[in-house]
């Protein structure tokens, strides 16, 4: 499997707004794999195995929901609060890796 080469530092520094709408990057596909018991992110000749929270966040990056809605949905699904910071940090990292993109 071809490794991902170096990630480039192109992430914006500022905080994300509620209306920032992340979607999966071009050529990436997210799916649940029974054999591995987790979500995976597939891309040309490669695969990222996702932990539970990464999988749950990316599964909500459908190009429709804004960051505000994504956080609300996660907090509702897991009966949790204060997830905003974690979600933003993950999305900024994911954008650096080109897993997600937004305007």
């Amino acid at each position: 499997m071809t490794a991902v080469s170096e990630a480039t530092a192109t992430a914006s520094a500022g905080p994300l707004s509620d209306t920032t709408v992340p979607r999966l990057g071009h050529g990436f596909r997210l799916q649940w794999e029974d054999a591995q018991g987790c979500h995976v992110l597939l891309y040309p000749e490669g695969m990222v195995k996702l932990n539970r929270s990464a999988g749950e966040i990316l599964a909500r990056c459908d190009g429709q929901a804004g960051v505000g809605a994504i956080v609300a949905s996660l907090e509702a699904a897991f009966s949790a609060q204060g997830l905003r910071g974690d979600v933003e940090r993950f999305l900024l990292m994911a954008r650096q890796q080109r897993w997600v993109t937004w305007a």
């Binding site: 499997m1 071809t2 490794a3 080469s5 170096e6 480039t8 192109t10 071009h26 050529g27 596909r29 799916q31 794999e33 029974d34 054999a35 591995q36 018991g37 995976v40 597939l42 891309y43 040309p44 000749e45 490669g46 695969m47």
Partner: protein, 386 residues
Amino acid sequence: MTLPVPGQASPSAPPGPPLWLLAEVTYRCPLHCVFCYNPVDFARHGAEMGTEAWLKLLREARALGSVQCGFSGGEPLLRDDLELLIAEAHRLGFYTNLLTSGVGLTRERAAALKAAGLDHIQLSFQDSTREVNDFLSHTKTFELKQRVGEMLREQGWPMVMNVVIHRLNIDHIDRIIAMAAELGAEYLELANSQYYSWAHLNRDHLLPTREQLQRAEAITDEWRQKLDGRMRLFFVVPDYHEGRPKKCMNGWGNVFLTVTPDGTALPCHTAAMLPGLTFPNVQTTPVREIWYDSEGFNRYRGTGWMKEPCASCDDKEKDLGGCRCQAYLLAQDPEAADPVCPKSPHHGIVQVAVEQAEARARSGAVPEQPLVFRDPRHSMQLSCAR
């Protein structure tokens, strides 16, 4: 991982599923590349599997947990049923990759492959200068590859390119990168030739000097700066020069399952060369049994098979002793440490090969044996002579 693992050779690390399925659907190819990794005796292999057998393989491998499927060859576009195979792979949930030289691709075929659900094409380029390209691939393909690049863009596929690098084209690396950038490539793999099969036969012509490599890496670095992330560049260093064995195929029987045109299942493209090992055929043995139970897939799994210097080496989990095929090719012993490792008692063989490349560069000497082009006639002759 909770899968049951019967017949496991090394109890320490149970294998996961064969995440990567490489379907080498044909050995037929319009090109005659001197670095081809197909077996030298490819012309003596059995008949290509039919459509139904490939479909059955796809279903079995996917059920076992395979997620990436590469369609390769030879030139996979020569199979008329390629769209059918890709459509089924896509339906099953594979991420589908086509590894092609682009020869035979038309606008219509590209659209049909897209409609079938093809996720990605990796386009291989031999070189960016038409003359060298024609020489190395022995057909006039350079203009076609420019057109194919356009077709990829039209269908919205990410532009992923691969160029095999060696002594005869390494000094053109600046032009190669420039052309990939011009074509809008998002990712360019500059893969130094690995010396197996045809590349091993032609090694004296293909092995670059250290200076050539250093220069090529420096030029690649300059382009990385200049492109600032617009195109990703991946430079695969040849292990002869690096002095460090690679964790070949990410571990024997660990993630890779290769199926050759006649249905033979292998842990890597070239494993069929190893003596004393038999590999099952997917037409007669279920893929689950092949992956978990077969002697061929279990033989070099983990570290239990190792002898010295690997057995007591601190890096044994890191590189798993390097490549079994290279150990066999260079040391005539598939259980030996990969001779590219400085700890190998056979490391001198690699050092001599690198030294000879340096000496030829200094003297301008041409190797005695002319370049051997990969074609069925040479394949028959060379495998007959064995």
